[in-house]
């Protein structure tokens, strides 16, 4: 049974509907990641869960209790803000202890609780400093400590890593993951970083303009995006979208790519009219060289295409190519000597192909 339930939630700010009927459920101990482009309403949703913004209609239910009218402080929720929102006038210790103090916890108990949390987060040597004397990563940990010390029912994180540099981000991400695994906390987490979403979540919700696009596990979202928006939004470089046509009549119905030089099977349980144009999605890592193609892949096609751009990242090389008027990007082994203008034989892992209806933008099958 779900621990956090958001039921037909709508939120108007002024005259614009920022959230348009959101339905989400999260089991106890789950890690829900909200992703979506800037301005889609992620922070607004988090704020309504926390009670910082009143909701227009619908319900927020925590542990079977409708909390719509409950004051934020009474919801037993902790929140970590993008800017960390540390109290600049207090030391780290006071920052962490503040919530306990407001709840009337005695001084000694506070001290013990803070000490324990600080130890977990390895910030015990910083307790006397003020936020301004901390580095970005340290601030982030203090903000987390402030949430942790309360042992709340639900944690909310609003893009906690976006202010950190790449190296630190990897570290802190691992810390958050460990926190979740060790404490079994229920977490709602906002980010627009795909890697963060994929590595942390047990469940991902993709939002766009105040509506839910897809709810699913990271692998569902990544491998079976519900629509073109989700497909395009998750993954960098983005999923290739190849135009195909349904051909083959009733004997051999399939999707023809690149003038039928590649044949993709029709999705199961889908009946598509002959001649219909569809979009076939293939991630760059499914468009690769012979040595990297999944040996267990059921259906692999080889196409030769002219390379238009090469982007070596060190660990891999992204290769953009053009075939039959369609541009796509593949990911090939970094060691391969690829050059712009050459022909290259791409191996396509067609097992991974997903098919979309360009009219409805929905996935087919």
């Amino acid at each position: 049974m779900s621990f956090l339930k958001i039921d037909k939630l709508t939120k108007k700010i002024g005259n614009t509907e920022v959230l348009k009927g959101i339905d989400i459920e999260l089991e106890k101990g789950g890690f829900l990641v909200l992703v979506g482009p800037s301005g889609c309403g992620k922070s607004t949703l988090l704020n309504t869960i926390a009670g910082l913004l009143p909701i227009t209609s619908g319900d927020v239910i925590i542990d079977n209790q409708v909390v719509n009218d409950l004051h934020p402080s009474k919801r037993d929720i902790a929140m970590v803000f993008q800017s960390y929102a540390l109290y600049p006038n207090m030391t780290v210790e006071e920052n962490i202890a503040f919530a306990l103090e407001m709840r009337g916890v005695s001084k000694e108990e506070r001290k013990t609780a803070v000490a324990q949390v600080a130890k977990t987060l390895q910030i015990d040597h910083l307790l006397d400093r003020r936020p301004s004397q901390l580095s970005g990563g340290q601030r982030q940990r203090v903000a987390m400590g402030r949430a942790l010390v309360r042992q709340p029912r639900v944690f909310l994180f609003d893009e906690p890593l976006s202010n950190l540099d790449a190296k630190l981000r990897v570290e802190v991400r691992a810390e958050i993951k460990a926190l979740h695994q060790n404490t079994g906390a229920t977490i709602v987490y906002v980010t627009h970083d795909q890697i963060e979403a994929m590595t942390l979540a047990t469940k991902i919700v993709v939002l766009k303009a105040g509506t839910v696009q897809q709810v699913g596990t990271p692998s569902e979202i990544y491998n079976r995006p519900a629509n073109l928006f989700v497909a395009d939004f998750m993954g960098s470089p983005a999923m290739n979208m190849l135009e195909g046509k349904v051909v083959g009549g009733s004997e051999n119905p399939h999707i023809a790519l690149f003038n039928d030089s590649v044949q993709v099977a029709l999705p199961e349980a889908a009946s598509l009219a002959e001649g219909k144009t569809v979009l076939v999605g293939l991630r760059p890592e499914a468009v690769t060289d012979a040595s990297l193609i999944d040996p267990h892949a059921g259906k692999v096609a080889e196409v030769k295409a002219k390379i238009t751009m090469v982007e070596p990242t060190g660990s891999d090389t992204f290769v953009a190519a053009d075939l039959a008027g369609q541009a796509f990007t593949g990911r090939v082994r970094a060691e391969l000597p690829v050059r712009v203008g050459e022909e290259f034989a791409f191996n396509l892992n067609l097992d991974k192909a997903v098919v979309f209806d360009p009219e409805t933008t929905q996935r087919i099958g």
């Binding site: 209790q65 409708v66 909390v67 009218d69 409950l70 004051h71 009474k74």
Partner: protein, 293 residues
């Protein structure tokens, strides 16, 4: 399930808001009292003023006092009201505010974007000038004005106000430009803009809020100044405040309180106007840096 006491009930929130509005309205009325007294008194007849309740509304409002204050009240041996002095003040305030604002803006610009060793000391010294009591500089200032040949002229008054306004205007602009990204200056430099062009094309157009604060501050201070006005001007060239003083504190004769008050309201109109119109930008401008003051 939630209990009633746990919720922020709509009723409670509303109650709190009533209290807030109530407190604000009561305070606003208190703040308005002196203005109210001035206005109502200026509309009353002398008899009503002497006999009656200061806070009562005028029984037969009349604007005779206003007409008299503006056009026919006697100040010294001339009886042409305060209208001439009103323009005197304008003639003094406008250039003084303009010059001190422009200089302050340039100084702030230099002290933040063209720093050189010792810029802090110079700024500190200019800032300290804000705090000097004006009575202490009257006599030497008179001498200097005499030497410069602008004693007893509007130019002289403008000069004095510019001198002692510089500290404030520099402070306001410095704090504002402090937060202005250096990159923009660098970009403009690379684009080939020189010192003045950067100021004119890049900084000044974005200085709206702080210009408002500075102009309001300078305008009120200069408009309301009495000490410099009475010392460095004379007769029919005096600013409004001096004329008002001559009207209000004349030593003998029946005190025409309604005329005095009407004149006082006239004297206050421009500053009131400025505050009411630009009040919103005032807070915004303060936010934009002047608060650090």
């Amino acid at each position: 399930m939630s209990t009633a006491s746990d919720t922020v009930s709509a009723g409670q929130a509303k109650g709190a808001r009533y209290v807030i509005y109530g407190a604000l309205i009561v305070l606003a009325l208190i703040y308005l009292l002196p203005l109210y007294v001035m206005l109502t008194t200026s509309l009353k007849s002398l008899g009503e003023i002497r006999g009656g309740d200061m806070l009562a509304l005028p029984t037969a409002p009349s604007i005779d006092a206003w007409a008299k204050a503006w056009g026919t009240a006697c100040i010294g041996v001339t009886c042409e009201g305060i209208k001439g002095y009103f323009w005197n003040s304008i003639k003094m305030v406008v250039p003084a505010v303009l010059i001190s604002t422009v200089l302050g803006a340039l100084n702030g610009y230099i002290l933040t974007k063209w720093r050189f060793p010792g810029h802090k000391l110079i700024f500190g010294m200019m800032l300290f000038a804000c705090f000097i009591p004006f009575q202490a500089v009257l006599i030497p200032m008179a001498r200097m004005l005499g030497i410069m040949g602008i004693a007893n002229t509007t130019t002289g008054l403008v000069f004095v106000h510019v001198c002692y306004g510089l500290g404030f205007t520099t402070l306001f602009f410095r704090n504002y430009y402090e937060a202005f990204p250096d990159e923009l200056i660098k970009a403009a430099m690379m684009d080939g803009a020189g010192f003045f062009r950067i100021f004119w094309r890049i900084l000044l157009p974005t200085s709206g809020p702080i210009i408002v604060v500075t102009v309001i501050y300078q305008f009120t201070n200069i408009w309301n100044d009495f000490l410099f006005g009475v010392s460095f001007s004379s007769g029919e060239a005096s600013p409004m405040t001096v004329a008002l003083n001559n009207l209000v504190s004349s030593s003998t004769g029946v005190k025409e309180y309604n005329v005095d008050m009407a004149a006082a309201v006239f004297a206050a109109l421009p500053t009131l106007f400025v505050y009411v119109v630009a009040g919103r930008y005032f807070v915004r401008g303060l936010m934009a840096g002047a608060v650090k003051g």
